[in-house]
């Protein structure tokens, strides 16, 4: 079996285990897992840019925010999206995220590296500013409460049912994004990440490739936003603030960029420490800080890089001990 296949099997096994364990734990854990999964979708969208295209975006909260505000405004003002039209709302949220990304991409994709970072940060802050100032639409600082969840045969007020809904969206997103990065398009993105100039010389329109990746990331950001509105029950400028973008970026770095599922690991750790450990001990911030620092120092490829590290260490050790047995260990 190739290592790629093993990886896929492990991921499937872990996801299945999660689907079984989470609903059987306490309601609070279910709640946190739901939140982490929504952020995992956002983190995956960041990963498309950071891990596969080599673009570090600090503005992902903008698409997250537009999805969330869209859901909040549509449901509270027009009672739209509370029935079967919820699926339409999901689509609209993705569309809004994609449209905003398509607009922002015109400015952002021209730049690269730290300039790309700065431009996406600035554009993200524009959206935050709008959310904060445009009180008549967004409720300003107080935000918009989303008191109801959609109902279409399922009782989504039940946190466990809602968890499965979000879980479903997460699986589908993971699958779609996995197909995307495995496609020829995904490979050309990786090519751009590794050496853009060479790709251009080979005749690829690298601008267009990056632009499309940016728009796709925006769409999934929008999806996560719509889900967040119903998960959290309130959408406020805090949803769109820079911290959200930074969180998503850190989750990816923590889990491992370029792995997609790394975002889930990162989201689980961030939520686990910040929301769960903080209920138990007052020094949770040191734990989170420590994890960040250690990861950056010793695991540049993120936590998903741990198995590879261990394998390498194992091979090295066996090699030192008994060079002949090497073949049997690696098989």
């Amino acid at each position: 079996m190739s290592s790629e296949k093993i990886k896929i099997l492990v991921v499937i096994a872990v996801l299945l285990a999660l689907a079984y364990i989470i609903p059987h734990s306490t309601s609070f854990v279910v709640l946190l897992a739901t939140r982490a999964l929504v952020f995992a979708i956002l983190a995956m969208s960041v990963d498309i840019l950071l891990g596969f295209t080599g673009l570090a975006s600090l503005g992902q909260a903008a698409y997250f925010g537009i999805g969330a505000y869209l859901a909040a405004i549509m449901t509270t003002r027009y009672h739209f999206g509370l029935n079967w039209d919820f699926w339409l709302l999901i689509f609209l949220g993705m569309l809004a995220g994609a449209a905003l990304a398509a607009f922002f991409g015109l400015f952002a994709i021209r730049a690269s590296n730290v300039y790309f970072l700065m431009i996406t940060l600035a554009l993200g802050q524009c959206v935050w500013g709008l959310a904060y100032r445009w009180s008549s639409l967004t409720g300003g600082d107080n935000g918009i409460n989303v008191p109801v969840r959609p109902s279409f045969g399922l009782d989504l007020t039940n946190e466990r049912t809602f968890f499965f809904l979000v879980y479903g969206f997460f699986i589908v997103s993971l699958l779609l994004l996995y197909i995307l990065v495995r496609s020829p398009f995904g490979h050309s993105l990786a090519g751009i990440r590794e050496r853009e100039l060479r790709m251009r010389i080979l005749g690829y329109n690298t601008w267009l490739h990056k632009y499309i990746a940016f728009v796709i990331a925006g769409a999934f950001g929008g999806l996560a936003g719509v889900l967040w509105a119903f998960t959290n029950g309130i959408v406020s400028p805090e949803t769109v603030v820079l911290t959200t973008s930074v969180d998503a970026l850190l989750m990816v770095v923590l889990g491992g960029a370029g792995t997609l599922v790394g975002g889930v690991v990162g989201a689980a750790i961030v939520f686990g420490v910040r929301e769960y450990l903080s209920t138990l001990v007052p020094w949770w911030q040191y734990v989170l800080g420590g994890i960040y620092v250690l990861t950056i120092l010793y695991l540049p490829s993120g936590l998903m890089g741990i198995p590879a590290h261990i394998r390498q260490w194992w091979i090295q050790k066996s090699k030192d001990k008994n060079p002949k047995k090497l073949a049997s260990v690696t098989s």
Binding site: S135, G140, T157, N232, G233, S236, R274
Partner: protein
């Protein structure tokens, strides 16, 4: 295989603990969740809040109304989203009877829906957003306020300013809902009495350099009304006085409350603000409270501490009235609504789940109080408006016909 399992067993054990942890529900225990910022920029205010409540608990040997209290403090990290998570944790995992807290108005808005969906009492000692007990009162039946509504003290200040013969005022206030509501209350009462607000300036929340704003202030106005929060409160009066401004400065409660007052310089002496509490209130009950608080925590209590102390007292009395047990959210709210108590801040009763209470017009003075040896800055009460309703003197019906105070309401009729 077995070795892998053994290797993983500590991990599994941790996961088991993490996932399986629930607190068993005791029989005679009153479980109270408390949500306040313990980390982040508002951490100090959060501590003041907890300390107030804790002081009352300690004075009553950890019991309220005869019930043993399990007091669980959760860190909101100053964020609405986290507050919601923590509130849900308190309800779902700790099975609290009620949760208390929330600092910013936005947190109040974030937490109120949680009380709905979980049918659990939410008491807000600080979060002041007007509409939670006004136009959205019926929307959140499990929401109860022991603190104040934002415009409650500034209505009185507007009236007072007008009575002092102040004719024109410039307002400068933090640019968010709490600022709009405090300015709105001031402007409404002030202009209804014949005054004129001639300019409104809105610096963003967190502004520390008022350089761009101070020169634009109309100097011919009789006074300035300022509403600052946190570090803004320290900077604004200093920078304004340094620019040579000699006229009167009025302020919302948070511009001069005891949370910032000890860190202020003498330039604030003579400034006037309004709130439902002053640490310089000369009543025996307040003197005892200030002394006890200062002895324990080394600082003069701010309204953040007082309102939480009083909240504990209100719960204490209500539980007693309910016969020493928690009677459920609806019944408990009925009991609290019917209370009349003599709190540290003065007489408190309730109307539409919001206190009717004295509003004090306070002037900053440097003096010795309560036998403390050093001359310090105190908010001396110069006028008391007794039993002020959140609807001021307008009456509920008339008041609720107007929209909630915002950047555009009341309109600035006299601004050019």
């Amino acid at each position: 295989m077995t070795t892998t399992l053994r290797r993983l067993s500590p991990l599994l054990a941790i996961a088991g603990i993490a996932l399986g942890m629930t607190s068993p529900a005791g029989a005679e225990e009153l479980r109270i969740g408390f949500i306040s910022p313990m980390t982040g920029i508002f951490a100090q205010i959060g501590k003041d809040m907890v300390n107030g409540f804790q002081l009352y608990l300690d004075e009553h040997h950890g019991k309220l109304g005869g019930m043993d209290v399990k007091f669980i403090v959760e860190d909101s990290q100053g964020k609405g989203d986290t507050s919601v998570t923590k509130a849900k944790k308190l309800v779902l995992q700790d099975h609290v009877h009620m949760f208390i807290g929330g600092l910013l108005a936005s947190t109040g808005y974030a937490l109120a829906p949680v009380s709905n969906s979980e049918k659990t009492l939410y008491i807000a000692p600080v979060a002041a957003a007007d509409d939670l007990t006004q136009r959205q009162l019926s929307k959140y039946p499990y929401f109860f306020r022991t603190g104040w509504s934002s415009s409650q003290p500034t209505h009185a200040l507007g009236q007072w300013a007008c009575d002092q013969g102040i004719k024109t005022v410039v307002t400068i206030a933090a640019d968010y809902a709490f600022g709009y509501e405090q300015v709105g209350g001031f402007q409404k009462a002030f202009e209804d009495c014949g005054g004129k607000v001639v300019q409104k300036i809105w610096p963003p929340i967190g502004t520390k350099d008022f350089g761009p704003y101070i020169p634009s202030i109309k100097r011919n106005a009789d006074a300035i009304f300022s509403l600052m929060v946190g570090p803004m409160s320290l900077q604004f009066p200093k920078q304004l006085r340094r620019s040579g401004y000699k006229k009167r400065i009025l302020g919302g409660g948070t511009s001069y409350d005891e949370f910032v007052l000890p860190f202020m310089g003498d330039e604030v002496i003579g400034d006037v603000s309004s709130l439902m509490y002053s640490a310089a209130l000369e009543t025996p009950k307040n003197e005892t409270f200030v002394k006890a608080y200062r002895k324990k925590y080394g600082k003069v209590p701010s309204y953040y501490s007082e309102t939480n102390y009083t909240t504990a007292e209100i719960i204490d009395i209500s539980i007693k009235k309910a016969g020493g047990k928690y009677p459920g959210a609806d019944k408990f709210i009925d009991i609290m609504s019917g209370l009349k108590l003599d709190a540290v801040r003065g007489p408190v009763s309730f109307e539409d789940r919001n206190p009717i209470q004295n509003i004090y017009i306070k002037k900053v003075e440097k003096k010795k109080m309560f036998g403390y040896p050093k001359a310090e800055l105190w908010n001396t009460v110069i006028k008391t408006y007794p039993n002020v309703s959140q609807y001021w003197t307008y009456g509920k019906e008339k008041f609720l016909k107007q929209p909630v105070y915002s950047k555009d309401f009341p309109r600035c009729k006299f601004c050019e």
